[in-house]
Symmetry: C2
Subunit: 232 residues, 2 copies
């Protein structure tokens, strides 16, 4: 892998006691640099990378985009993103099931963000741990894919409570699965009445515009607010 | 829920330093009682509960079966299992992303296992944390469903390394997904040459006999060995 075009950072050596302090530091760093960060979370295989690639393709002429790929191991996602010409850093969490704010800060320091507008953190595939750690992002987006089932809000409620936006992915596969969207929607809104729920397919592109339009609205609102991250 | 037919145990109050000591205690307990325990692990939505229900239906006349359902929250899976008449206990992990051996021991103590032959632990849906904790089971079975993708061994290698058997579930949905079984198989065997890989669908029953026959072989071998758990 000597021709690798991105860095790999081992993020798990240091541990800090207060994640919230580090999250505030991340927010300050993002504000200083004028960068908007999205924390993208889901189960393994829900479609984070495919969604990311399609989002980059849709917004790369509008914003200068960077990606932080967090994984326990491997760099396959970073390689896929890097192949699009997007700046990317691979973060290895050393066995940890999530990113915390300190790891995120070190990731941001490890890639040059001065000339970026928008950064995606692709978190470790997991519905439990990432929900528990504020990494200082401006927007928390979770993906639930149709094959996972409509009962997931019952079993992983915290993830649904803390997220701003829920992308229901792989809607092209609905005929193959017993997935009741109305039931899912009701379960999600019980946990989080403010959740913005978008049905889409990263494969076919169905519903994808609604997602990118929402994301652009959130970014522009942030810019109007002078980078203040007040509603998080 | 006053007519609930199973107990709910909050397992996360106590923490023990040495998981391995507790795992040995679990093994002794299982051997003393003549019970075989399966630790069932997967991502959220890969089909643990559906697989469990079909396995119970196939083996309930042969073995006396009990189930421990581990979840961060909810009791929907325990309710589904309980509805089949199977003895079940719901374990709440208090935010933890996995079961450890001490929680498992307390779960076994919380349900009367004296008259059981076979116990399933349905672990928290997660490909990271459960792989790191030996709970003292006789057999570690992981499920990977087709919609999750064939790249998962690259990203969650430990789970594939520690498992004895890999069930590839939802093979009925293969036409809807870009899933290369030969590539998956090669990636798995690179990590774990001894892995028993079975393709099946818990929904249609395709390939299911191969799984239950394998499980019966493992149980009968254990009985012949006098309950000694030597190869784990």
């Amino acid at each position: 892998m000597s021709d690798r075009k991105f860095e790999i950072l081992e993020t798990k050596e240091r541990v800090i006691a207060d994640n919230d302090v580090a999250a505030i530091e991340v927010r300050h760093m993002l504000k200083d640099k004028g960068v908007f960060m999205v924390n993208l979370m889901s189960s393994p295989g829900a479609g984070k990378t495919t969604t990311l690639l399609r989002t980059i393709a849709a917004l790369k002429d509008k914003y200068r985009i960077g990606v932080m790929e967090a994984d326990v191991d491997s760099d396959v996602d970073a390689a896929a993103v890097s192949a699009t010409g997007t700046r990317v850093i691979q973060l290895h969490t050393g066995g940890s099931c999530h990113m915390d704010a300190d790891m995120t800060k070190r990731g941001l320091e490890g890639m040059d963000i001065d000339d970026l507008d928008l950064i995606f953190l692709e978190n470790v595939g997991n519905l439990v741990c990432p929900a528990e750690f504020d990494v200082g992002a401006n927007l928390k987006v979770m993906i639930l894919s149709v094959p996972e089932g409509d009962d997931k809000p019952l079993k992983y409620p915290l993830m649904f409570k803390v997220s701003d936006c829920l992308l229901i992915n792989k809607i092209d596969t609905e005929p193959a699965f017993d997935f009741n969207f109305a039931v899912l929607r009701s379960r999600v809104l019980d946990l989080n009445p403010d959740m913005n729920i978008i049905r889409m397919s990263s494969l076919t592109g169905d519903g994808f515009d609604e997602w990118t339009e929402y994301l652009v609205r959130m970014i522009e609102r942030q810019i109007r607010n002078g980078g203040n991250n007040e509603d998080h």
